[in-house]
Symmetry: C2
Subunit: 250 residues, 2 copies
């Protein structure tokens, strides 16, 4: 509590003590970025029991005076060295996980968040060790989902991946995995990395073009034709892109 005595009295009148069990509230972060055409997740390796040595999502407790969204941004900075304030990043609430036995140590309800970090497709954003003992490192998502993870974090990661893959069908959210200005080919590469498929370039351009804004600038590639640079306009794509594989038959 630690609020005014009026509120305190009102509270005590309204609820029986047994009604408000102490439940710890945490955030777990699904932090994603693309490099070399492969989707990666920032994961920590657990140093202590339970699930010692296994991979887990970064995360931590929600403080008394912050929202889950604020806690997510803070934990992202603490556990990965990344600061949402200075980065082109996208954060959104994913879902909450509340199975009573999801953490064997205590009752924990976790509000999972999805974080998309921009990268130019070559190198992943740098993760520096934070104040926490375990520091985060990048792992290829589709590979890491083959093995078990700590707690219910494999489920959360899968849900986060599915949220991203689904939302990319009908929004330009994928642009958050790229710098502010990007080429059509870069954007298509993000789609191919997340959907784990190939998309025909011509039709992708035709479908996506109305939802992007041309900057007028072009890239200066080492080889090949220069590509136009776009910025994303956050809007609905209707009808959505099709996720199923297309391209040459065979």
């Amino acid at each position: 509590m630690s609020r005014g005595s009026d509120a305190e009295r009102e509270f005590l009148e309204a609820y029986e003590p047994r009604d408000y069990p102490s439940i710890a509230v945490t955030v777990d972060l699904v932090v994603l970025a693309v490099a070399q055409g492969v989707l990666h997740a920032a994961l920590v390796r657990r140093g202590g029991h339970p699930f010692k040595g296994m991979l887990a999502l970064p995360g931590g407790f929600v403080a008394p005076r912050e929202s889950a969204g604020d806690a997510a941004a803070r934990e992202l900075a603490e556990e990965t060295g990344l600061d949402l304030g200075g980065l082109p990043a996208h954060i959104e609430q994913l879902a909450s996980y509340s199975d009573p036995d999801r953490d064997p140590r205590m009752r924990v309800v976790s509000v999972a968040h999805l974080v998309l970090l921009a990268s130019d497709g070559g190198a992943l954003p740098g993760l520096s060790a934070g104040t926490d003992a375990a520091s985060a490192a990048w792992h290829p998502v589709h590979a890491v989902l083959e093995s078990p993870m700590a707690f219910d974090h494999a489920t959360i990661l899968r849900d986060g991946l599915e949220r991203l893959a689904g939302k990319m069908e009908y929004t330009t959210v994928a642009a958050h995995l790229l710098p502010a200005e990007f080429t059509m080919t870069q954007l298509r590469s993000v789609y191919e990395a997340v959907w784990d498929t190939q998309l025909p370039a011509g039709n992708f351009t035709r479908k996506m073009l109305p939802h992007l804004a041309a900057t007028g600038r072009k890239t200066q590639p080492a080889v090949g034709a220069p590509a136009a640079l776009f910025t994303a306009e956050q809007r609905h794509i209707h009808p959505p892109l099709s996720r199923r594989r297309t391209g040459p038959a065979g």
Copy 2:
């Protein structure tokens, strides 16, 4: 805690007391049903402060040994007299709301759930007063959103409505607002009620037919031709329905 002493010791070693503030976890329910072509929400009127006399979502605390989903089903029964066990109902997690000041009495994180109740379109499911003082009653959603609600419940209700409206574009979730067997016209009426629009019957049938299973049975209406009865196959509709108004120009 109230767990084994091993777990307790491990817990005490792992966390500083200040790290796990006591935060109450609740569920808030967006309970929806359709009657007379209008979407209704089951709401309670607050009997005490704060927000005395205003409309609020039904809900309550998550118990120490239940998940948020279990709590949602239990609270639905307690506050509305409805029992998920004996009803064709659909429940899914919506989102969590964690602003530190969302409840002036104490720190409360709420995991909102969306509940869809079946009705034949004529009468709404009966709501009987439960053990709680305030009992729920049905209110037209689009009208009730004009006035303020208690806490952040207007936001939650709006989010729930938007979730339903969006999901109806690309799934057969709307069928959960109807009995197990329903006619194409009934299903179209649900779409029109939630989207607050008119849809052309012929094209709606053509688009929806592949996603429904014909039972072979027909209705016996007082007037007009008998209509075929369908059951829904839960599947993705791709490409999705268009929510924008169509039909005769003007």
